[in-house]
Amino acid sequence: MRELELYFGPQHLGMVGNFSITLSVEGDRIVKATANPGFLHRGFEKLMEMRTWIQDFPLVCRINVIEPDSMEMVYAMAVERLAGIEVPERANYIRSVVLELARIQSHLFGLWGYSNLLGLDTVAQWAMYHRDLVLDLYEELCGGRVYHIYIWPGGVRRDFPEGFKDRIVKTLHTIGNSVPDYDSAFFNNRLFYDRAAGIGVVDKEEAKELGAVGQVLRAVGEKFDIRKVEPYAAYDKVDFDIPTREDGDAYSRIWVVRDEMIQSVHMIFKLLDQMPEGEVYNRVPNPFKWKVPKGETYVRVESSRGELGLYMVSDGGDKPYRVHFRTPSYTHGLILLERLLEGASISDVGNIMLSSYVVAPEIDR
């Protein structure tokens, strides 16, 4: 059979995000896949070198639109480490709550894309509605639906408004109570099993070799989670499980995501119960005249797609000398995806891509 070249994306119905893959196909089997990123490249790390420490905050959350809070968190952590800023206890709890809410909304967004792709549109509509409820909480907290700029070095920007805890609990009850609906319409649906089981299988050694993190790694049975391995914020004070699966296919990855969302909901309840009173923001010197001491650091957090790291070098000036983000989608989208697509069928491209959580703006930065 003749080998053809097929351009998949950036304008393509099966493509989520501005990303493109060049496929060499024989019939409908993929012989070779070449990822072609760069459609969203803005040169963030260069832009950040040209701005002062505090000016970088509105920039940094825009690297990943789906879950901006983990980006803010990793940047705040790096600055705190270099400058030696302490964070009050209450702020740590608030950060954890905000990050878990972000994880839930990001996973719901992923579920929207994934169920849309499988043709289970009803579930997609639910997922997007429930995500919007979480965005309403964010809007009340900091005024923005999508970009929050809420986590700062030294704490968070402001305390919870009055009665906010109750509204978080109410929203999470709404989402939690619909889990049986999701299960019967999607997760236990035969359609989902038939489309996802055995698709995009990766084994443990290969996943580690290719630098996989997050769901991809947890779906092969590795309990690797930065929240446990190297706890930050208030994650060491709260008890939660790391859901894993053994098979390493798209089906297990999506199930891991579902279990993670349920864990997050439980975790937020616990965090809200344990949350102490007190300050949420340690006064730091005038941020417009900040100078961060000379040094370098590498910090990491667990974003909704896996390990998110930041390598930062300061030369003692009022601007960072070098920042470099290690984003989870980077290795997933550029080498793991190419490896998984070899031998797959064209109809499974989106399936593999969404189940391994490739988010284009993170790759390009």
Partner: protein, 185 residues
């Protein structure tokens, strides 16, 4: 909103048909795409306004440029725009296509979208809310009524200038001119 509909339907049914079935190109050009899913699903339900996502540019007549435009995306945008059948409308969504927004000093984002493709309207803000899309759509209705949404006509008329700017940024365009270059202006 749209007043005196009955008279308009009798006068120009084709225009009214276009107006109430705006198919949006499914193309995530930037981070503004994050507000499109809520807009087209249950909570905001863009279908009330006749805005439906279309699978391919050949079935669409509204192109939302959602967010910053990098040089590589500009190539895809031009190709997508040129494939759309007329009448076609293009709206810049967010601050970045207007003047660069946050990325005004980035070496890889074009700062003003209207130098390369004709824009019928802008939605300012980062991120604009879903309601802003509806306001833009209702404005677009008025503009279509008054024949002011004439981006595609301007594109044809000043194609030589647009093509010149596109070639300067992209260095090499691998597709032939959409309209004869000698004509126009």
């Amino acid at each position: 909103m749209d007043r005196g509909q009955m008279a308009k339907w009798f006068k120009d049914p084709v225009k009214m048909g276009h107006k109430y079935s705006l198919g949006v190109v499914y193309f995530a050009t930037g981070c503004g795409i994050i507000e499109i899913p809520p807009t087209i699903t249950t909570r905001w339900d863009a279908e009330r306004f006749g805005v439906v996502p279309a699978a391919t540019p050949r079935h669409a007549n509204l192109f939302l440029i959602t967010g910053y435009v990098s040089v590589k995306t500009l190539r895809a945008i031009i190709r997508t725009y040129e494939q759309m059948p007329e009448p076609k409308y293009l709206i810049g969504f967010g601050s970045c296509p207007i003047n660069g927004g946050m990325y005004w000093d980035s070496y890889n984002t074009i700062n003003s979208l209207d130098k390369y493709v004709p824009v019928d309207g802008w939605i300012a803000g980062c991120m604009p809310r879903p309601e802003a899309i509806f306001i833009a759509v209702t404005h677009l209705w008025t503009m279509i009524d008054k024949d002011m949404a004439d981006g595609y006509k301007r594109y044809k008329k000043y194609y030589r200038q647009y093509r010149r700017n596109q070639e300067r940024v992209l260095q090499h365009l691998e597709w032939p001119p959409l309209y004869p270059i000698g004509e126009g202006e």
